[in-house]
Amino acid sequence: MSRIISLLQRALGVILILVTLALILVYFYGIL
């Protein structure tokens, strides 16, 4: 169980970073 939670936590970290990065790239796409 704790292993699954740990995996989910890690996945959340990656998702947060990727989503923010994607939004920033969309911003630049709009500018250029």
Partner: protein, 393 residues
């Protein structure tokens, strides 16, 4: 062996980044000097004819036959230096010397600041004003809080244009006031914050750091909405620098952060002065969560803020517009104005900060990268000069 080749790749990437930035700068420089006269003509489709009255400053007379007795009007184009760089606007003046409309032709102001001016009807206050009026902020012009520097810059351009029409068309004798030093409590308080941030770093006193962070949050964030942005450093590299006599606050903030990083080998701004950094720390503490960030993930995204800083600077250089690279969410947060995508970036940054300490600073912030590079450059210089160590790891 693997380490060696990784370092070689890293070095090659650094050089490639630097070279492409130089090329981007050159390309942007070559296409600079946007013609604003066609923009004015575009905005005046009703004008049947246009005659040049003077070249410097540019004053034009135009006829709009369908308006009957109010057919003749005058237009002028004037410029000033704003918070984000140069701005150009046109003034339309009627035959009696009253301002009819202010048309912003080109500007580099941070968009949330500009939206704020429009929302507060800043430009409308000039309509029906006479070209001989002083048009001076705080005297007969109301500036907009949290966009004070932008309001003053637009006012300066409007004043220049109005007075030019007054002199060239109506033969009025209007004397321009010489610029005056504008140092008030805000400049003093900002300098004090830098000193207090340094003390908190040197002494390691947490309480002092929290006090400085709270003060900077209210002062730089809520009161002035004047967070440092990559737009400042992009503007500095483009040479879009306001005069120190009229914008001492800009100089203390932008050059203060750079100089302290260089001289003290410490990034004081990110340590205690950034309002968004404070908000993120607060979020993290309130949420109480501690999302484990795998070392492999940190390693994998180590280059991410560098890449984004490069991308932001490329954008700034290619467009010759410092604010085009400003993807940071700070202005949107503190002015509550912005484009949809800026709101989404802000939401993602705040959400991330609930789970990871200083989420935006660690993975995305270009200001931290810029100031960090200055600290590293200083440390390298120190090593060359066999200076005593004192550089952060």
């Amino acid at each position: 062996m693997a380490d060696k080749s990784a370092r070689a790749i890293e070095r090659a990437l650094k050089w490639a980044a630097l070279l492409t930035l130089i090329m981007g700068y050159a390309a942007g420089y070559a296409s600079r000097g946007r013609e604003v006269l066609p923009l004015l003509i575009e905005q005046l489709p009703e004008a049947a004819s246009m005659d040049k009255i003077s070249e410097h400053p540019l004053v034009l007379a135009f006829e709009t036959p369908e308006k009957g007795s109010e057919a003749r009007g005058y237009a002028t184009i004037s410029r000033a230096q704003g918070w984000g760089g140069p701005l150009s606007l046109a003034l339309l003046v009627d035959g009696e010397g009253r301002i009819q409309r202010v048309l912003v032709l080109d500007h580099n102001e941070t968009l949330p600041f500009f939206y704020r001016l429009e929302k507060k009807d800043f430009f409308r206050q000039f309509e029906s004003r006479h070209v001989a009026d002083p048009l001076w902020p705080g005297e007969d012009v109301d500036t907009v809080t949290q966009a004070t520097v932008s309001s003053e810059a637009f006012t300066e351009a409007i004043r220049k244009g109005a007075h030019a029409v007054g002199r060239e068309v109506f033969g009025l004798e209007i004397r321009e006031r010489p610029p005056q030093w504008r140092i008030g409590w805000e400049e003093g308080f900002l300098a004090l914050l830098f000193a207090a941030a340094y003390l908190s770093m040197r002494s390691g006193l947490r309480v002092l750091r929290y006090l400085v962070m709270a003060a900077a949050f209210f002062f730089l964030g809520l009161h002035l909405n004047a967070s440092l942005s990559i737009a400042h450093y992009g503007g500095l590299l483009l040479g879009f620098v306001p005069r120190v006599i009229t914008h001492p606050f800009w100089w203390i903030l932008v050059c203060g952060a750079l100089l302290t990083a260089f001289l003290l080998k410490r990034n004081l701004y990110c340590h205690a002065l950034c309002p968004f950094g404070t908000l993120q720390e607060l979020n993290y503490r309130i949420s109480g969560s501690n999302l484990p960030v795998a070392k492999s993930l940190v390693r994998a995204v180590r280059a991410l803020p560098y890449f984004l800083t490069w991308l932001a600077l490329m954008c700034v250089f290619l467009t010759s517009n410092p604010t085009s690279g400003a993807y940071e969410p700070f202005p949107t947060l503190f002015s509550l104005e912005g484009m949809e995508i800026q709101w989404l970036i802000l939401a993602a940054a705040i959400l991330g900060s609930l789970f990871m300490k200083r989420f935006f600073c660690r993975f995305f912030c270009p200001v931290g990268i810029a100031l960090g590079l200055v600290v590293r450059a200083r440390c390298r210089l120190g090593k060359l000069g066999k200076e005593k160590p004192g550089c952060p790891e």
